[in-house]
Symmetry: C2
Subunit: 333 residues, 2 copies
């Protein structure tokens, strides 16, 4: 697998240096331990919101640091949890006296390390809450995970909690928004091709030219089933049906529909998928009131897509529409 | 090559339907002939700005339709010029009485068809100017092109002219901005892997696992040289050197640095490239005052990158920073 890198050991560090050169108006980067933090952190009297996880899912999470979204992001090595000291230092760097929320995707390493960091931060007198995101309906218990995996709902939770924090809400209120975004969000993904971890240098899994994997994880973990490639419409049905029936979403619900690219999928294909996903949602009586189409939570160069649906209420709509100024999501400012 | 589509014949139409479902607050879509137009078109007493070209380069151009950028985009079949009737209808749809600018990438079909559309529109009493973008320093005369190809500078020209039009400038003034963006912009690209046109169903070219192509076009047209894969830093040098020496840019110039993904390249790799490109520009005495990092002019699922540099002056900086509200580029609103 060919990559635009210099060496597997340096890819995260060099990408962070690129981020500094590109976005110093938005963020600062701290090295060793690595974290990306809002240029104006800590914002006094605002709840700090941080997340983190393995690298290789860009723009998540570093691309979401900025006004109205994350205060900091902790990038681990590729597909590897960040360490507790990264999370602890990031927590301290964003603590504006009103507490800090950790948004944690449900992977064993991430959960353990964020728990340790939260304990350490509390020992230093910082009020920390944590919400574990586990929105992937594809599988229970998987490589790297006990329970469901955390995927696309993470992006939406980061936007909503970031807006709530920006609006001056308390740590308990911001935490509640995050729990709601997880509780009301469901996702499922699929892959046409494998990703390849730089230091491994070969595809994570083999997928024959006529096959696809439904229910794949964002690290190339196995999904529900491998089968012959089908049409975009059939694939979209195979993702939407489990999502809709799981919550269950019901006729009359207002939803945000998020069609995500896995990193190697052209945008034109994502709109073909969005078309069918929208039609399925609408035929099910759901009202698609907001959407997001693009590659926001990726798995390196994996070709494929994931769909996330999030039930919305009045308050969440207001938080979604609130201004945001990050490298990857920006509006209203 | 596996794709998330239903059939090669329907991919453009279905993607357009997806765009309607996703972005009806920003755009309307007209079918047969196909064009994407601002929801509020025609805007009276504003110069209309339109572009178009083959599909497969998304988000260009349809993702750039909206306030502060394009008034309309004409998508052809994949990698195929739109027809004169598409351009003519789009021109009429955006004509607010102040004339219409056609931004044309330098490919033979696009140039001929836009010329024909301009003649037809003038015959109907619409004032039309056209600017041909030919910023690719890689090759002179190529498959599909006499002279240099139009690539990344197109995105920047669309932003700048759109802002100029929004500010109420005349057709002559908006045209001048476009000429300046082309005259002061230079680009070069490279590929790690081939794209595959849907109705062909196989890669456009063969590139062995240890090779890359420098100077590639956005349709997979041949570049300058094929060689063994090198490091990201070496590749970035091979792209930046011809760009810098071509204008030539000189010490003290203020520039916008645009690192673009070809469609199948993960964002983390684009930041590794941006890091080196920024360092080369800075070492050359250039001042990088604005940037863009992401996949904005793509070649389906091709893995690779292109770099565009644009010399900026005070006026262009103001136009770049002006509010824009499109599916793919948005700030200030």
């Amino acid at each position: 697998m060919k990559k635009l890198i210099n060496s597997p050991e340096n890819v995260v560090r060099e990408a962070l240096e690129g981020i500094v050169y590109a976005h110093s108006d938005l963020v600062r980067v701290h090295y060793d331990p690595n974290y990306i933090v809002r240029a104006d952190a800590p914002v006094q009297n605002k709840v700090g919101v941080i997340s983190g996880g393995g690298s290789g899912h860009e723009p998540m999470h570093g691309g979401f640091v900025g006004m109205g979204m994350l205060d900091a992001a902790c990038p681990g090595a590729v597909f590897t949890s960040p360490t507790p000291d990264q999370m602890l230092e990031a927590t301290k760097a964003v603590n504006g006296g009103k507490g800090v929320l950790h948004i944690v995707k449900n992977y064993t390493g991430d959960v353990l390390n964020f728990e340790m960091a939260a304990d350490l931060a509390r020992a230093e007198g910082i009020d920390v809450e944590a919400v574990v995101i586990d929105d992937d309906v594809a599988v229970k218990d998987s490589l790297y995970t006990a329970g469901r995996r955390g995927v696309g709902a993470t992006v939406l939770a980061e936007k909503l909690t970031g807006a709530a924090a920006e609006a001056g809400r308390s740590l308990a209120e911001v935490t509640d928004i995050c729990k709601k975004a997880n509780g009301w969000g469901r996702s499922m993904g699929m892959a046409l091709t494998s990703c390849a971890v730089p230091h491994v240098g070969k595809p994570t899994f083999d997928l024959p030219e006529d096959q696809m994997e439904i229910g794949i994880g964002i690290h190339g973990e196995p999904g529900r089933v491998r089968m012959d490639l089908k049409s975009a419409d059939e694939i979209t049905e195979m993702l939407m049906d489990p999502i809709i029936t799981d919550l269950p979403y019901k006729a009359g619900d207002e939803v945000l529909l998020f069609v995500n690219g896995m990193g190697g999928t052209p945008l034109i294909e994502l709109y073909v998928v969005y078309r069918k996903a929208y039609e399925i949602a609408t035929k099910s009586g759901l009202k698609v009131v907001r959407n997001l189409v693009g590659s926001y939570i990726t798995s390196l160069e994996m070709a494929g897509t994931s769909i996330t649906m999030l039930k919305m209420d009045e308050d969440m709509l207001k938080l979604w529409d609130a201004p945001v100024k990050t490298a990857a999501l920006r509006w209203g400012v």
